[in-house]
Every structure is written in structure tokens, then in C-alpha cells.
């Protein structure tokens, strides 16, 4: 179980770029290296992680932990994968709070904000790639866009509405 924990700490520490980068890293460690899961089981886990609420990486870690050591395993994997974040992101946040009045530091974030816009756009492409197989999904997209733009509806209600609409009419 310690090995499982250390593996997930490693995954958290070396995966840059969020969900999909982490999934690739998990595959390498859990399937190819340690043989805790078969490739088929891993593919199932990826599908389930994407179709369940919550961050994909946390979902995958919880699932793999549960498959190997039950509920304690899922807690250990989840804690392992967020432990490096807790340390590094805390340091980063403290640095930000300390230095954000300095002109050179503001200059960095001025540029990073523009970069963020590009990354959000890239995420839109990645999520959007599989999201529009037919006219129905384009319709859902248009309705959600209109509703949240026109009435500033809470995104939570938009998502619940879309899920119900999909189940009833999809």
C-alpha cells in the first residue's frame, strides 16, 4: 500500500498540464510499470472518470485505489496525487501574495493572463472535439449559450438542465 501511495505522489509531482497529462502518467505507472490494472480496466476507468462529477485525475486515482485496496486504497491514492499540489501550490500562492505589488512580477502575470486565455481556448478545442457528433448536440450548445448569456443563469442549473434534457430527449 505504501508503494501505491508513493506511486501516486510521483504521478502528482510529475504531471504538468492537468487531467489528460495525468491520465497518461497513470497509465504508464499503474498499467505498464506495476501491472496493478490491465489496459482494458484502465480504458474503463478513463471513461468512468470523464463521465463522473469531479476532477478527472481525482476520479481516476480514487477508482484505482478502490480496485486495489478498497476504500483505504482510494483515500491513499487521492491524498497521494494531491499531496505535491498542496505543497507546491501553497508555495506558489504565498509567493504571489508576497510579490504581486512588484512591477516585474505584475508583468509576468499580465502575460500569463493572456496565455491563460489561449489555454482555455485550447481546452475548448479538446473538449469540443468529441462534443458535437450531431445537430442535437449543437442545439444543446446553442440553448445553453443563449440561456446563460441572456439570463445569467447559474452554471449549475444549466448543467442540471442539460443532463435532464439529454436523458429525456437525447
Amino acid at each position: 500500500m505504501l508503494e501505491l501511495f508513493i506511486t501516486f505522489v510521483k504521478i502528482g509531482l510529475f504531471s504538468f498540464g492537468g487531467g489528460y497529462a495525468i491520465l497518461a502518467m497513470i497509465q504508464q505507472e499503474v498499467v505498464s510499470h506495476h501491472n496493478w490494472l490491465t489496459q482494458g480496466e484502465f480504458t474503463d476507468i478513463v471513461a468512468i472518470s470523464q463521465m463522473t462529477p469531479g476532477p478527472i485525475a481525482i476520479n481516476a486515482a480514487t477508482f484505482i485505489g478502490y480496485k486495489t485496496y478498497g476504500i483505504p486504497g482510494s483515500l491513499i491514492c487521492t491524498f497521494g496525487v494531491i499531496l505535491p499540489s498542496l505543497v507546491l501550490m501553497l508555495v506558489l500562492t504565498l509567493t504571489y501574495l508576497k510579490l504581486r505589488k512588484r512591477p516585474w512580477f505584475q508583468n509576468i502575470f499580465k502575460n500569463l493572463r493572456l496565455l491563460s486565455l489561449g489555454l482555455i481556448g485550447a481546452a475548448l478545442i479538446l473538449i469540443g472535439k468529441g462534443a458535437f457528433p450531431d445537430l442535437w448536440s449543437v442545439g444543446v450548445f446553442a440553448i445553453c449559450l443563449l440561456v446563460s448569456w441572456r439570463w445569467k443563469t447559474n452554471p449549475v442549473y444549466v448543467l442540471m438542465g442539460a443532463a435532464v434534457l439529454g436523458m429525456v430527449l437525447g
Binding site: 476532477p55 477508482f63 499580465k110 458535437f132 448536440s137 449559450l145 448543467l159
Partner: protein, 179 residues
């Protein structure tokens, strides 16, 4: 000011509706933390997105740590992370224990066929306003456009672009001697 309980319940809600990755959190956090409760302004939040992407680990968790710490230091950070993680833990354990064929169930597939375009719409909408606040102009829009193409289509890892941007920003500051 915000209580730990309200941070926790806010992030519980955010965690439960983060569907398909950390970017789906952006409209949720912006709505709950910036607009509805006014705990943080848009620029601080965008800096958080930038920082969360520059740090290893799940972006959703990094962003919760940033927002939680901003609101109530270490305790705020702890409850924000717990709130984000708990919906995942519960739903995945239930699925893993009872219903491994979950992703193939017809109602779930139907719901997700509608949820995916909904998430795209929700992420796309705030981009215009965020662009305005980030100081997006005709003269600098080539930069986010290039990032979008490199990461979204050419599959370049964001880490290199982030490191280059930081290095370039420090270099221009040094040149202007505005340290």
C-alpha cells in the same frame, strides 16, 4: 467575510459539477466566488488560473488551493480541497463498488451527450469578458491565438510555453530596469 462552512459548501457544489476536467470549474468558481459572493476579483482569479496551470498536479486541485488560501489561509485551503474532492470520492466509490458498467448505461450516455456541449458553452461564454479584463487588444491577440493553436492543435505541452513566457516577461522588465 466568508466562513469556513460557506467555503466548504461552495467548493462541494463546484466539485460536484466539475464535469470533464478542470476548465469546467472556471465558470462555476467565477460565478460562486467572484460574482455571487464577491470574495475575489476577476483579475485575481485569472492569476490563479495561470498559477494553477504552471504548477504540477491536477489543475482543479491547484485552483482550489489558490482560492481557498486567498479566502481563509491554511484552513480555507483545506476545506476548499476537501470540498472539491469529496463528491469525486463518494461517486467513484459507489460506482466502483456497485456499478462498474456505469459509463455504458444508456441514461448516463444520454446525459453526457448533452453535458459535453453544455460545458463547452459554459467555458466559452466568460472568455469575452475575461479577455477584456486581461487587457486583450488587437495588438496582443496574436499571443493567446498562438497558444491556442500550439496547445489545442499541435499538442505542445503548456509547460514550455509558460516557462518561456515567464522568462520573456522577466527579461523585458530587466531591459526596462523597472525592477
Amino acid at each position: 467575510m466568508c466562513s469556513l462552512i460557506s467555503i466548504f459548501t461552495t467548493f462541494l457544489k463546484i466539485g460536484a459539477f466539475t464535469i470533464g476536467g478542470a476548465y469546467a470549474m472556471i465558470p462555476l468558481i467565477r460565478r460562486e466566488v467572484c460574482q455571487r459572493r464577491g470574495w475575489m476579483d476577476d483579475l485575481e482569479f485569472m492569476d490563479g488560473i495561470a498559477a494553477a496551470q504552471s504548477c504540477p498536479g491536477p489543475i482543479a486541485i491547484n485552483l482550489s488551493i489558490y482560492v481557498g488560501y486567498h479566502l481563509r489561509k491554511g484552513k480555507g485551503m483545506a476545506v476548499a480541497v476537501l470540498g472539491t474532492v469529496i463528491p469525486s470520492l463518494i461517486s467513484i466509490i459507489v460506482i466502483a463498488a456497485l456499478f462498474t458498467r456505469y459509463a455504458e448505461a444508456e441514461p448516463v450516455r444520454r446525459a453526457f451527450r448533452a453535458l459535453k456541449p453544455a460545458v463547452v458553452a459554459l467555458i466559452a461564454l466568460p472568455m469575452i469578458e475575461m479577455g477584456r479584463k486581461a487587457g486583450l487588444k488587437l495588438s496582443n491577440c496574436w499571443f493567446p491565438a498562438a497558444v491556442l493553436l500550439l496547445v489545442g492543435l499541435a499538442d505542445v505541452s503548456p509547460v514550455y510555453i509558460i516557462l518561456l513566457t515567464i522568462a520573456f516577461s522577466v527579461w523585458t522588465s530587466l531591459r526596462k530596469r523597472s525592477l
